[in-house]
Amino acid sequence: MARWPQALVGLALGVMTLGLTACSEGPWNNPYPDPEAIANVVYSSFDERPKHLDPARSYSSNEYAFLAQIYEPPLQYHFLLRPYTLVPLTAEAVPVARYLDAEGRELPEDAPAESIAVSEYLVRIQPGILYQPHPAFAKDETGGYRYHDLAGEDLRGVNVLADFPASGTRELVAADYVHQIKRLAVPWLHSPIAGVMQDHILDFKDLSERIEAAALPSSPGGARPYLDLREIPFAGAEVVDRYTYRVRLRGKYPQFVYWLAMPFFAPMPWEAERFYSQPGMAERNLTLDWYPIGTGPFWLSENNPNLRMVLERNRNFRGERYPGEGMPEDAAAGLLADVGRVMPFIDRAVFSLEKEDIPYWNKFLQGYYDSSGISSDAFDQAIQYGSQGEAALTPAMEEKGIRLLTAVQASIFYMGFNMRDPVVGGDGEATRLLRRALSIAVDFDEYIAIFANGRGQAAQGPIPPGIFGHRDGKTGINPYVYRWQDGRAVRRDIDEARRLLTEAGYPGGRSPETGRALSLFFDTTATGPDDRARLNWFRKQFDKLGIELVIRATDYNRFQEKMREGTGQIFMWGWNADYPDPENFLFLLYGPNAKVDGGGENAANYSSPEFDARFERMKNMENSPERLAIIDDMVDIARRDAPWIWGFHPKSYSLYHAWLANLKPNEMANNTLKYRRVDPELRQAKRTAWNQPVLWPLWLTGGLLVAAAVPAVVSLRRRERSRAL
């Protein structure tokens, strides 16, 4: 009988010794293989499987974190300069539009927008740029493509791209860019911007139909036979010569150059399409959505979104150089140390799947992630405010050499009113007063303090800081909600809101018809535990005016459906900038863009003729004082009508360890991995110092087990003997 507990102790000791010998070097809790310790690698994380890695389909920031390192559109945002500036990436220069009238005559640059029939962008790319090694380019002895006519049995045993032994490369040409623009129109690719491009690129809609007509029917198995897009004519984008292509737009659309910095307009070689469209490829998950093919500084060497994604340095990369100019403060921040050096500086970037905040944050503190955001719960641990209210790191963080970066994001979270709702919406004076009263009552300054740890800036209008048209200081405040006092914006008194409410016909928040408190409905997707506090807070805000807020929580699908049908009343939503232009925010209030009728992004269904007329003028203008004046007008109209409670612009705080260099928050650029530099020795030293295993609990447990086993064995023996007697 005594064998059992002894066996247990033995087992425990065995496990411990195994543990001791197996990780004698380096910390025990290192989640990466030991040999990697001093590699020139950046460690980061992702929290969700990227849905699409095809640049024609991808449209979310977590996918761009990978795509932007792999694919290279013609333009990019300057890493250091602010305001955000477009600079060439693969292009020779940022293209300038040529305007033509209906007869094809060239117009001067300042021609009125109405007279412009076509804008032409001529993009010249740099010669000599090579693609990453990829089997789609591999050639056999005769010079034909080695893997373009595979039969079923050739694919036996192939599960990942690396199972193809040979690979090749090719020079980047203008035709690849044109090919990709055509791909945006392919109906079965469901490019999310196909709808927008239809409105702007010439011939785009017809191209879609031509492709549909030319496409061979897909086989029952689902694989679509290859369709050579190069053979389909397209007036919207044409190859001029080997390194030049031309894009033609309908009318004037100055924002188009911003699109040229997004992965949608990255090059796509036809060989890739040909390669992946072979039968049997899709069944093996060999698709463009899974294995990108680009010219960028990195390529995706491992794609296992259940575990990790690895970007490896592209050995064919042309060697872009670190930018030479920056903002005045950049030199002091050490951002100009690498000027002129060839990028990228790291060999690999490992992204591990990390769904939960807590392990993520703890691993960051243990040194296993190089940089991190700050979740609301870890905030007090990391950040403290100085006496002037400026954010600084806590001593504990500074001791670890952690550094802090902050930036106001080019986005807005707002609380919208459905303008079609009879109670809160409409153009009448009474409902306008009601909305304004609520705008005062819902104290977003407090919201930011409680739920975002002060990481945000209360919005005064739709345009976030850093975007043309945003105004700081006294001229920038929303006079209906704030007043200027002692050099800062002060929220108007709740009494003022109560007065407005009385004027609106709800004295004391009471509805005159029913005699009961006015009930308003708040539609939200909140389902998590943290939302409870948030929803309670919203109820309290409305309660200040005696209004009862009824919360209708639902899932995201249902919420969207409500928005589409216009059956919501009050809701909260947000918008991230696609590009740094005020048009990208003001169009959220443009009447024809209404969610219900237009299927657009104007979720409040706000429609004001004054606003719309100005929007149409403003959208095609270059940034100028004249444009600013129109924008000011528009913002004033919107503030007066208050279709939104303006909410806030979130501020991003991110932390990074001492061994990481060249980080600057950039809301527009995603391809920032190439600038990054690490000091692996320092990292290894710190990791070892921070993660010394605490061994006494092991000995203690072992000791306790032995201590418990001995008397047990003794009493077992005794009992045995006494029974035997």
């Binding site: 009988m1 709808g195 296992n304």
Partner: protein, 325 residues
């Protein structure tokens, strides 16, 4: 015997059809194909045409159960239900709504699930049985009572507390194991220690208590009394008679859960970031990937039925008196 197994397998078919029907009903009461399309196409700027093509490509444009526009047998066969269920029975899971091959994903993800479930089962079994034997040895003494109260206390603690506490103490405070994560191949061992320890400890309360009951029941039987009366030592009695005879219910209890080990544990896997089938299922629910949900429900049902069958067979193997009919 063979005839019996074949009959049981045939009996499984109506059950699986029923399972499929319920899955379909539940899922499509909740989601329309439009919802699924929107979910997969992303949030910004989705056109109605795009939704239509998406549905057509994946066969979700047909009616659910009854196609009124079709003739004859096609009223039933040209529907989403028929199209999507038939292939399941050939274990052809097809590709997920996001376009990945489900069969391949399952074959990849079942290993991490097994890597946790099997050690937890084996180590747990050993520890629980030894503890239970130990307690039974001292039955009707204060050690027994104290142990039972301790066991009840252990099973009264929510599994969440074990996980949260274990992660906090062992990983955060003592730096003994990585907090979460996984690795392929043998390198995975250091990620498995913590979940396995927690899994075992979490199961001690229920398991030991159950085995104790079994042993006590067995120890009260006449033949054991006879053995004891013959002067066999208590240790021998416990090992030779009690344990051996109690092994039958223990083994059959284990056999029924064996197939379900593949399914993984939802909570453990998502807490520790282990890419097993449990987290696969949760992700699929969250992403509304109906193809995966359907495949997992089907797989789960098959494994469950398999477990029942294996239990029956194991009964005959350990006890020749039981005849299957």
């Amino acid at each position: 015997m063979t005839a019996y197994i074949i009959r049981r397998l045939l009996y499984a078919i109506p059950i699986l059809i029923g399972v499929n029907l319920i899955t379909f009903l539940l899922f499509f009461v909740v989601n329309s194909p439009d919802d699924m399309a929107r979910m997969h196409l992303g949030m910004k700027r989705v056109t109605p045409e795009a939704i239509e093509t998406w549905k057509r490509e994946r066969g979700y444009h047909r009616p659910l159960f009854l196609n009124r526009d079709a003739n004859g047998a096609e009223t039933l066969t040209d529907t989403i239900f028929f199209d999507k269920s038939v292939r399941l029975f050939a274990f052809d899971f097809g590709s997920s709504d996001a376009g990945r091959d489900i069969g391949y994903d399952i074959s990849q993800r079942m290993w991490p699930s097994l890597a946790i479930a099997v050690p937890v089962l084996v180590v747990g079994l050993l520890i629980n049985i030894s503890l239970a034997l130990f307690i039974v040895f001292f039955r009707a003494t204060y050690i027994d009572i104290a142990a039972v109260v301790l066991l009840v206390a252990m099973m009264s603690i929510s599994s969440l507390f074990y996980i949260i506490g274990g992660q906090y103490v062992l990983s955060k405070v003592f730096h003994l194991v990585p907090i979460s994560g996984y690795d392929t191949g043998l390198a995975a061992w250091k990620f498995l220690i913590l979940p396995v320890i927690i899994g075992v400890i979490g199961g001690v309360g229920t398991g030991t208590r159950w085995y104790r009951t079994l042993f006590i029941e067995e120890a009260g039987k006449d033949y054991v009394r006879t053995a004891r009366a013959k002067g066999l030592s208590e240790r021998l009695v416990l090992f030779r008679h009690v344990l051996r005879n109690a092994l039958i219910p223990i083994l059959t209890g284990v056999v029924v859960v064996l197939p379900l080990l593949f399914m993984g544990s939802l909570i453990t896997e998502s807490f520790f970031g282990i890419p097993g089938l449990g987290s696969y299922t949760i992700d699929a629910i969250n992403n509304q990937d109906f193809a995966i949900v359907r495949a997992m429900v089907f797989l789960g049902s098959v494994l469950y039925i398999l477990g029942l069958l294996m239990t029956d067979i194991s009964y005959t193997l350990v006890d020749p008196r039981v005849r299957l009919s």
